[in-house]
Amino acid sequence: MSLLQSFLQISSDFLASSVSFFTLGNLVMMFAAMMVGITFGVLPGLSATIGIALFTGLTYGYSFDKALIILLGVYVGAIYGGSITAILINIPGTGSAAATCLDGYPLAMKGESSNANILARISSFIGTIFGMLIFLFLTPLMTKLALEFTSPEIFWLSIFGILICGSISAPDLPIKGWIAGLIGLLMGMVGQEDIQGWERLTFGVSNLITGIPFVPMTIAFFGIPQIVKSMRSAQFKIEAKKDRVTINIWSLIKKNFFNILRWGTIGIGIGAVPGVGENIAAWVAYDDAKRRHKRKEEFGTGVYEGVMAPETANNAAIGGAIIPLVSLGIPGSPPAAMLLGALMLHGIRPGPLLSIEHPQIIPQFAALLLWASVFLFICGLIITKPMVSILKVSQKILIPIIAVLCVVGVYAYNNNPFHLLLVFIFGVLGYFLNKMEYSSAPLILGLILGNLADSSFRRALFLHHGALWRLINRPLSFIFFAACVLTILSQTKVMHHVKKMFVKK
């Protein structure tokens, strides 16, 4: 089959799937799933991963088509929903919205919460559509590229993600961002390690054998410091002076058209890397936006592109994360891992044979993503306004309620009261780190990627009998290694001297 023929075939299957979705039952189901997904995203601690995990069980009795509508609706909704609390109260509802806090919250503090919210919604919408299109047409090519990733590439990519996140999120000194990333990496190594099954840093506590869980730690490092900070501060009420959209959205989108395409591409590319996911995608896109912006020093004070970039990338990463899931059976992100479990529960085994056994599945996924993005726009429009009004509620009332939701989120994760204790201990640590201006984002990223980086690193060394140079002797691994070195050098005087030398010449 020629390239044109396969393109036409996929397009017609996609159109057929999109049209067949259009029944009242499906529309109602997608609407409800999207509302639930956004709510899960909004509530700190209840992420897309938990949402899909919960609904995998609840939709077990449904047909595969119906279950997929609900699960994708929850997935897309939750990734977008995280931005709402990130903008309004500086607590990212999901890890992927952490980068949105940096400029979203300052915008809300300036009385531009509606501007920030509509930008986040439109960016998420565009990101999802972009991710869907790439997923539909470039799956075979991306599969080939993802297959090139071996242990060294995954290791360097993880380190690069933490380094970049550390350097852009530390408001005081870049070294503080890297220290936070290292602490996160260390926390990610607590528990039984993958290579030899040896227990590390558990100190005889049996509850730590499975490691330090990511979801409760998101609450400990983002939620608890924010709760304490808001309650102890004298200024409890946030002034929301302007509650209307005051910017020309379309001219902003037109101005950033090529940037949006680039952020979307970053999202898809990073989302397609197994295990990396939406969180890094958002940070890399934010960094890209900052580096290319004319007034990069204003980032962190409320720049529109600082909201658009992470929101475009994290939603585009959904399409990217499904690419290796469908084509290789390897999920691109934690929520995609939950989706993998759900597919297998319905008797669908993702992998290279999937497109032969179920030829309709790729267009079906794409059609559902298209509808999900449409519903994201509609539901976001409905739900954001009531959410904006929470700015007018005294924080003395709001924060205790959020504290209760955080506790429920921790407990809902796996009903383990030990995690409540962990959240308290790490919440205290998080509070002090936050007070000393150590960003929580690289710490959480380190925690997520710690185990992956460790196993990739030692697996690569094992395969090459301890030869360190084999970690950088492939083109892709060398590119990621060089990116890591450049990220470190960019924060030192060496790079300034190099820059000066070039400028002089």
Binding site: L186, M189, I227, A412
Partner: protein, 190 residues
């Protein structure tokens, strides 16, 4: 006009002084944290070496796949980072003089400090009573009751609104959380 300009300059000067003091405070805590981090990273390096040699002895594996290698590297990089932080903080005027009992007592007496302690205290109590059997008391406190008491305590302590409103808000919130999570979403609550 002259007076106004003078006042503006005075405000600017005061603002700059506060910022400088904030930066000095930050560097002071950086010095302490860097020292703590250095001690912790040395302990981590020793721990990593111990478990690596133990694993090599038990499983006869090479050092490069020993479980302590990644933590050893993290310990090393943490030590280097802590040293850089210490040098940077010292160069920018950070020291440990703020740890003197007199200066420490001033911080200890501040309202902000006690508000922080109170919030952490309430959070700790709330999380503790949600265990199946509350430690020390040995009884089970239902989720709704613990939540209702926690919300009331927080709002009353920080004078959120009128007493009656606090009772109503706490009651409605407790009911909604319990109903949505336990009944609708079927999430098992403590």
């Amino acid at each position: 006009m002259l007076f106004a300009t003078g006042l503006h300059d005075f405000d600017e000067g005061r603002r700059k002084m506060i910022i400088d003091q904030d930066k000095k405070n930050m560097r002071d805590t950086d010095v302490l944290f860097a020292l703590i981090l250095m001690v912790a990273s040395i302990a981590l390096i020793i721990y990593s070496l111990v478990i690596s040699f133990e694993a090599m002895r038990v499983t006869d594996c090479a050092f490069y796949i020993a479980p302590g290698l990644p933590t050893l590297l993290i310990g090393f990089f943490l030590l280097v980072s802590a040293m850089i932080l210490l040098v940077t903080a010292r160069r920018q005027g950070g020291d440990l003089r703020w740890l003197s009992p007199k200066k420490f007592l001033v911080k200890f007496k501040s309202k902000e400090f006690w508000n922080t302690v109170i919030v952490f205290g309430y959070l700790f109590l709330y999380m503790i009573v949600l265990w199946e059997r509350t430690p020390l008391l040995g009884i089970h406190i239902p989720f709704w009751l613990a939540t209702f008491i926690f919300l009331n305590l927080m709002m009353i302590t920080f004078k959120a609104t009128k007493f009656l409103n606090i009772i109503i808000i706490s009651g409605i919130t407790t009911f909604l959380v319990d109903f949505f999570f336990r009944t609708l979403a079927r999430i098992p609550l403590p």
